[in-house]
């Protein structure tokens, strides 16, 4: 089922949290709603599932306009950030709850609970209470409860945020497996770009109540619409260099000696134009042609790779990720190159050219 949000607007008191948002989730896809804390991701989710009323706009589930349909009748499954399990019920009763309130027969309920419990691997926990479960197990129960009545759409509000690093990795792929096995359209809310990129078909990136870009992870990584998106994706993050155009060359701010030729696809910029370059760590390497000189001021060994921070003479930083065999040391003066084809160029409003 395709989910369409049109012109969604939400105010809390006088503050506009969401302004005129449009969003489409295609049937069977997993869409990430990615953005920093407080940008309105949960608010969007709550509006789609009907917990919050929208101040303006429309929600369509397929052909059905559900804008004024109460949450009880929207048939959505939701996994809350805190899991929101019912502590006074057993795991079985928790998972069965959506069916119990619809008065399905005991036999049906039992069969469906067993089925879904097998899908999320919690078959042996059914008699326990939520307080007797670990975080990852609670997560699975919550997921089972959301899936049991075959919802039209599955909503996941920061489902992995409360798990430790190893469990997060495991649950991440579990979520994807289960979503793909059930074929249910899903919206995954997260502030973690790695999570979004690794398991979602598409990403909608949000900032301050607006969707900036909707694209596949690769597309968004390679062609971000603006400097915010470029800065939000990628770990270690992209480095930015500010400067002014002089005869087709960018003169970096603060120091007339440091210059970088503009890449070919950004030609014809007038003199005096203020621009910002974005260079990802994997595109600042010893062998690339466009040399930039600086001193290594920070080295971080990450096992398979090493992360270097290089300080230019004007004080700006460039990051570089290299194989662990790299021999450079703290304090070395280096002259590494940038891959001109991969440089991202933004204007003074942050929009990519």
């Amino acid at each position: 089922m395709e989910i369409v949000v049109k012109g969604f607007t939400k105010h809390f008191g006088d503050t506009a949290v969401i302004e005129n948002m449009n969003l489409t989730v295609k049937d069977g896809e997993m869409l990430a709603l990615l953005g920093p804390s407080g940008c309105g991701k949960s608010t969007t989710l709550f509006a789609i599932c009907g917990i919050h009323k929208m101040d303006a706009g429309q929600v369509l589930f397929g052909d059905r306009d559900v804008t004024h349909v109460p949450a009880q009748q929207r048939n959505v499954g939701m996994v809350f950030q805190s899991y929101a399990l019912y502590p006074h019920m057993t795991v079985f009763q928790n998972i069965a709850f959506p069916l119990t309130v619809r008065r399905e027969s005991k036999v049906d309920i039992k069969r469906k609970v067993m089925e879904i419990a097998d899908l999320v691997y919690i078959g042996e926990l059914l008699e326990r209470r939520p307080a007797q479960l670990s975080g990852g197990q609670q997560q699975r129960v919550s997921l089972a409860r959301a899936l049991i009545r075959r919802p039209g759409v599955l909503m996941l509000d920061e489902p992995l945020a409360n798990l430790d690093a190893r469990l997060r990795l495991e649950m991440r792929s579990e979520l994807r497996r289960i979503q793909q096995e059930t074929g249910i359209a899903a919206i995954l809310v997260t502030h973690d770009q790695v999570e979004a990129m690794s398991i979602c078909d598409r990403i909608a990136i949000m900032d301050q109540g607006k969707i900036l870009q909707i694209a596949t992870p690769a597309e968004m990584y390679q062609r971000p619409v603006n400097s915010f998106v470029a800065g939000f994706l990628g770990d270690p993050p992209i480095s930015f260099l500010d400067g002014v155009v002089r005869q087709g060359i960018l003169v970096l701010q603060g120091d007339a000696d440091d210059t970088i030729p503009l890449p070919e696809h950004i030609s014809g910029q007038p003199d005096g134009k203020v621009l910002r370059l974005g260079v990802r760590p994997e595109h600042y390497q010893p062998h690339f042609p466009t040399k930039v000189k600086g001193a290594v001021v920070f080295v971080e060994m990450q096992g398979r790779e090493i992360l270097f921070d290089v300080k230019l003479s004007n004080g700006d930083l460039l990051r570089s990720v290299q194989a662990a065999s790299s021999q450079f040391k703290l304090g070395d003066t280096v002259e590494w190159g940038v891959d001109p084809a991969q440089i991202l160029v933004f204007d003074d409003h942050g929009t990519r050219l």
Binding site: F46, G50, F80, S82, Y86, F97, V101, R102, A131, R145
Partner: protein, 437 residues
């Protein structure tokens, strides 16, 4: 003992003294009084010995022989050495008659004053005037009736002088029966269990507690708390404030308003007069009406506490849990039944137990409104204890019996408190912090 431990006791001392004075002492005294027959008649200090017609009747019931009782009750006249001594020292002028009585007639007994005086007139040294004669005879009166003896010994001496030939146990029996002060005994409890009225009072107490509790203190409180939870903020605050009013109104004023509502010339009758309905006191008209008012008056006051506790307990339920239930498809009623009620199970139990205890012992609103009436149809146990001990219609306040009635409430209270501490098992209510694995 370490310094800090001693310091701790020092700091606790005021609390300990208060608890002892105002909690333990009343309970202990109630226990002590309940094993006495203290009343206005006996006083709370000592007493004296007095054989009255009541005492004789009691002794007859307890199997004393008729002849013995007749002699106890008779006004006989005996020429006893004792009487002679008294008469001599207290100045009977005519000593000759006394001498004659002592020498010749010691020990003679006459059944009435007339017989005795006739006998006196026949004496050799008989008094010259009838007036003197009449002055002598009272000294020889040997009746117990109407006399007050300060101690048992004096009473025994008197009994001995009557020459009744009573064995020791019977003498003591008479002493016990004629004692006017209070004595120890389990009579209060025998009386309590044998009195049919108390069964009715017990049933009344049950009706009062269960009806007020179910309808108002828990039931209506729950309805209010849930209803105001679903109302928008401002309205819910208003409704909760409204239901607090009865609680903060002075009880006498509050009950007076109800009385005014129900009086012959009160609000209800003024309205009903328009429909030609005979005016009457709606509160005391029938037993059923009295119950209605008693439950309403207590319930309106009692509902507010439960309401506040339940409302804050509901507010403490994590919002996401309620959201989750909505997304899961639960309608409002299912949300209440499956989420809210189970989540506030403990506050409900707590209020139920707590209010049971306080209803059992509270009678002030009943006292002020129906005072147990009409008849004894709304007389509850605590009120009965109060009536017996402190507000008796006949004026004889029965402290001992009242204390025995009150002791029943104390025992119920202690037992229920113990059950309730077990039930709530406070350790289990505290969830231990868990470290996520």
């Amino acid at each position: 003992m370490s310094v800090s431990a001693r310091l701790g006791i020092l700091f606790l001392a005021p609390a300990l003294i208060f608890v002892t004075l105002f909690f333990f002492a009343p309970v202990v005294l109630t226990g002590v009084f309940s094993f006495t027959n203290m009343s206005t008649a006996t006083g709370i200090t000592g007493g004296a010995y007095q054989v009255t017609s009541n005492v004789l009747r009691q002794l007859a019931d307890e199997g004393f022989e008729k002849s013995t009782l007749d002699r106890l009750g008779a006004k006989s006249y005996v020429v006893s050495a004792q009487a002679l001594v008294v008469a001599t020292t207290e100045g009977v002028v005519d000593k000759a008659v006394l001498v004659e009585l002592e020498s010749k007639h010691l020990g003679k007994t006459y059944q009435s004053r007339r017989d005795f005086e006739r006998f006196l007139k026949k004496l050799k040294n008989r008094p010259r005037s009838t007036r003197d004669l009449k002055k002598i005879s009272p000294y020889f009166r040997a009746s117990l009736m109407g006399q007050r003896f300060e101690s048992e010994e004096v009473l025994f001496a008197m009994l001995a002088s009557l020459d009744l030939g009573l064995p020791d146990p019977q003498m003591r029996h008479v002493a016990r029966a004629s004692y006017t002060g209070w004595v120890w005994g389990t009579g209060n409890f025998k009386r309590m269990f044998s009195l049919g009225d108390n069964l009715r009072v017990l049933r009344n107490t049950g009706i009062y507690v269960v009806a007020t509790l179910l309808l108002f203190n828990t039931g209506f409180a729950l309805v209010l708390a849930i209803a105001t939870f679903y109302l928008p903020g401002r309205h819910s605050a208003f409704f909760r404030g409204l239901w607090l009013l009865p609680r903060i109104t002075p009880p006498v004023l509050y009950v007076l308003l109800w009385k005014w509502l129900a009086w012959d010339t009160g609000f209800i009758n003024t309205i009903l007069a328009n429909f030609d309905i005979q005016s009457r006191n709606w509160m005391l008209d029938t037993g059923a009406n009295a119950w209605l008012f008693v439950v309403l008056i207590n319930g309106f006051v009692g509902a507010s506490m439960g309401m506040i506790i339940f409302a804050s307990a509901i507010k403490a339920i994590p919002q996401t849990m309620l959201h989750a239930s909505e997304v899961d498809g639960a309608n409002r009623w299912q949300q209440i039944r499956h989420i809210i009620l189970p989540q506030i199970k403990w506050p409900i139990m707590f209020i139920t137990v707590y209010q049971t205890l306080s209803l059992l012992t509270s009678f002030e609103y009943i006292w002020l409104s129906t005072d147990g009436g009409p008849g004894t149809s709304t007389e509850v146990w605590a009120l009965a204890a109060f009536h017996a001990a402190l507000d008796n219609y006949w004026g004889n306040l029965q402290y001992g019996y009242g204390a025995a009635l009150a002791l029943v409430l104390v025992v119920i209270g202690v037992v229920m408190s113990l059950i309730y501490l077990r039930l709530f098992n406070f350790d289990a209510l505290i969830t231990r912090p868990r470290i996520e694995q």
